[in-house]
Amino acid sequence: MGLPYGVISMAKKNFLSPIFSEVLNHLFKKPATGKYPFVKCTPAEGFRGRQVFDIGLCVSCGLCSRDCPAKAIEMVDVNGKKRPMFLLDRCIFCYQCAESCPRNAIKSTEIFELATTNKSDLVLKPQPLDQKAGVSNVA
């Protein structure tokens, strides 16, 4: 009686690694795969997605453009005033611009589905203040 038991315990220890049962278990378990893109994905709170620029608060100081490490913000002329234009293809989403802005005109969103087949979609021009609520660049 002792010998077969010893053999089994030895086999269990050295050969029958736990993967034998783990693999079979997974065959009948639900896969760990998420449902994206059929179910919308919501990133954790505070995820650094695309910026939203509020032209009403902007004082044209250019700090955002100066501090951007990727040179992704260009100051362009809108109705005679310099406003930031975001080049999302260069943007590294570090949010230094939001941190540098003295008036909090650059706000965060959790929008991350920015892929496009047309590169010009990735340039966010500052819109003049004729839209309601004065917030531009909203998807």
Partner: protein, 154 residues
């Protein structure tokens, strides 16, 4: 016939991944796509080792001087029809490295790019979204034709 071809192409995009000077951030997100949580094999996407087998070239990273030649060669080795997806800020336009002495710039300076996925690095969901958008654009011509037909009838 074209419908079947388009269907097969959309349902079976085999991808090749080439890093042309990335920081690994985008690369690990590309590899993460294969793993249980995102599992792009759901959509028929397979990561192929050889450029000859691939339909879609996923490029990550800014193109360095040393890699540019190789990137071009890999693109040339792929059989038609082929598509290129630039993943991440570096591949789209050079990111933080644009303008450095040994960096050419974005991938589109070397080979034509069909889809851009900004982000540093983009989430795996964003990459899926980018590939889906690319595949949708493949179906577009057929859809347009149908629209024209219905217009004609009316």
């Amino acid at each position: 016939m074209t419908n079947i071809t388009t269907w097969a192409r959309v349902k079976s995009p085999w991808v090749l991944h080439f890093n042309s000077g990335a920081c690994n951030g985008c690369d690990i997100e590309v590899v993460a796509l294969l793993t249980p949580k995102y599992d792009v094999e759901r959509f028929g996407v397979k990561l192929e080792p050889s450029p000859r087998h691939a339909d879609v070239l996923l490029t990550t990273g800014c193109v360095t001087e040393q890699c540019a030649e190789r990137l071009k060669r890999i693109y040339e080795q792929m059989p038609q029809p082929k598509f290129v997806v630039a993943i991440g800020a570096c591949a789209c336009a050079g990111g933080v490295f644009a303008g450095n002495y040994s960096v050419v710039g974005g991938v589109d300076k070397v080979i034509p790019v069909n889809a851009y996925i900004p982000g540093c690095p983009p989430r795996p969901e964003a990459i899926i979204d980018g590939v889906v958008k690319l595949l949708n654009s493949l179906q577009q011509p057929a859809a347009n034709k149908e629209e024209v037909k219905t217009d004609g009838k009316q």
